[in-house]
């Protein structure tokens, strides 16, 4: 049996180096091919987690809270207060989950980033390709969350639809700097546990998701205000309750966009430093 003749170096008609947008789409595709294998499991948890949290905290714990009086919550039931905050917090968790370990695995354990870097893709394309996938996952999870929160009757305004893009932006404000950080890790994933323990968990608990930040001691409050999650929680909540005003909304969006934008610049830099040594 003779092997077939291979063509090499033949003139090619296709456009081999495209603009940044199309290059990012090329870099996005392997994540999609991989996701085809695992999507079912991720959908189960995307549905189950909001149901558990809204059921246990919103309905269960909420019964006690509501008896105590909800003036500090804006005179809505605890469930209605909690749901939009939890939406933003879920976006953060999704973003963290799609950033740290997947990026570190691609650059260290499997080195699929290095494989991609040998092709026309530039480090920035590889970074933005991964962000496209993160955005897709955030979009899926936020739509699912909105559907479940509606089924729980936790929505007060049609403006809640606008909370979906706000939550996605909140997620990206975490994903971009965390991608930048994860890709720069040379040896191991030890730093990630610190991020979970001293970053994500305190943010999750103290950024206004479960109780208003005004309940915190005055000196701690500024800490909450600088975290992207608080801005996401505050705006998602205002939209869901129908209490949002334009100036406040623009302020929150601008803050989140700046953080995401800084992360975008940092990521482009750290991907280049790692993949083009």
């Amino acid at each position: 049996m003779t092997a077939p003749a291979l063509r090499v170096g033949s003139p090619q008609r296709y456009d081999r180096v495209a603009g940044p947008g199309r290059m990012a789409v090329r870099a996005f595709q392997p994540w999609l091919v991989n996701y085809r294998r695992t999507w079912r499991g991720t959908i189960y948890s995307s549905v189950l987690m909001p149901v558990l949290y809204l059921g246990a905290m919103g309905l269960g714990l909420g019964t006690l809270v509501n008896q105590h009086g909800t003036a500090s919550l804006g005179t809505v039931s605890y469930l209605v207060f909690l749901a939009p905050g939890l939406m933003a917090a879920t976006a953060m968790q999704t973003a963290v989950g799609e950033s740290l370990y997947p990026v570190f695995s691609a650059v260290k354990w499997q080195q699929t980033y290095q494989a991609a870097a040998a092709t026309p893709l530039r480090p920035g394309d590889i970074f933005r390709g991964h962000l496209l996938f993160t955005t897709m996952r955030l979009t899926m999870n936020m739509i699912i969350f909105l559907a479940i929160m509606s089924l729980f009757g936790a929505v007060r305004s049609a403006w809640v639809v606008a909370a979906v893009p706000v939550a996605i932006l909140t997620g990206l404000a975490f994903a971009t700097p965390l991608d930048a950080f994860a890709v720069s890790q040379k040896k191991n994933d030890q730093a990630f546990n610190m991020i979970f323990r001293f970053g994500m968990i305190p943010l999750f608990l103290f950024s206004g998701t479960f109780f208003p930040v005004t309940q915190l001691p005055a000196w701690v409050r500024p800490l909450a205000y600088v975290t992207p999650l608080w801005h996401g929680v505050a705006l998602c909540r205002a939209l869901s309750l129908g209490t949002a005003d334009l100036a406040g909304a623009l302020g929150h969006v601008a803050y989140l966009a700046v953080v995401a934008g800084l992360g975008l610049a940092a990521g482009a830099r750290s991907y280049r430093r790692r993949l083009h040594v």
Binding site: V8, G9, Q111, T112, A115, A118
Partner: protein, 341 residues
Amino acid sequence: MGCPLGVPKYPAGPVIHFELSQALGKVSDVPDPDALIRASGLTKRFGQFTAVDGIDFELRRGEAFGFLGPNGAGKSSTMRMIGCVSPPTGGELTILGLNPVTQGAAIRARLGVVPQEDTLDVELTVRENLLVYGRYFGLSRQVIAERTARLLEFVQLSERANDHVEPLSGGMKRRLTIARSLINEPEILILDEPTTGLDPQARHVVWDRLFRLKQQGVTLILTTHYMDEAEQLCDRLVVMDGGKIAAEGSPRELIDTYSSREVLELRFSTFEHDQAAEKLTAVPADRIEVLADRVLLYVDDGDAAMAGVRGLALEPLTSLVRRSTLEDVFLRLTGRRLEDG
């Protein structure tokens, strides 16, 4: 659309250039028009450490060009600069007539790279690995499917097309990496240590495939620390050591220049070794190399030299007459063996 009808595709420019150069007596300075890669004074530093220390070389179309040297010689750093994933610190590098720093993506679109680590996506199937990689080059699914069938047949993995990569043997993964590197029909194929870590049988299969590629006119550039690999695959090679090029030529030229026709290898018992090595200086030889476990006599006629050894009443435990290899060239040039690293 090309050029208008009647206008020759190539104006007389290069010819004039040639005549001018000839008139000036600098023919050898005219850049080889077939050179796909041209490096001069190419340097790569990482902080204080100089990995590649001002090397010059040219890669011509259709040849198989090798970098032979021990681990840490700067081979991989050179390959990464050629692969446009490592900007040079100094010197000049032109690949396919382009600048790797500013036109890296356009160059990479025309290269095939087989890295030292396979960098396959082990969670995907064999076929999906080629699909994903082909998409990086912007190839359509149809084109990728056609090429995948051909490439998998070439690397003898057609039966495993729908299997996951994880359970494949090291040799199969390497062959898949080679198939992957050919998906864009590259003009230059870059292989960094293509058979390191493979068992001898798997290595021969890879060599066979690379040899076929070479016969089909693929331009190969490879690094290796196996002298037999360099001898089998390379038309021309450079011996690299400590970030510098120690010698350049075809395997035959290098052996003719830096070694003798034959080598007599003698092994003595441990306590006789030093004494015997001293006595052997009486045997006429181009050079004597005393290694920890053997003594090598570089001679024209190994059997005649062996007779000379017997004449000294020396009784080696084993003796072997062989032809000179690139290993001997390396030993001569650097005073070390390739495997010493």
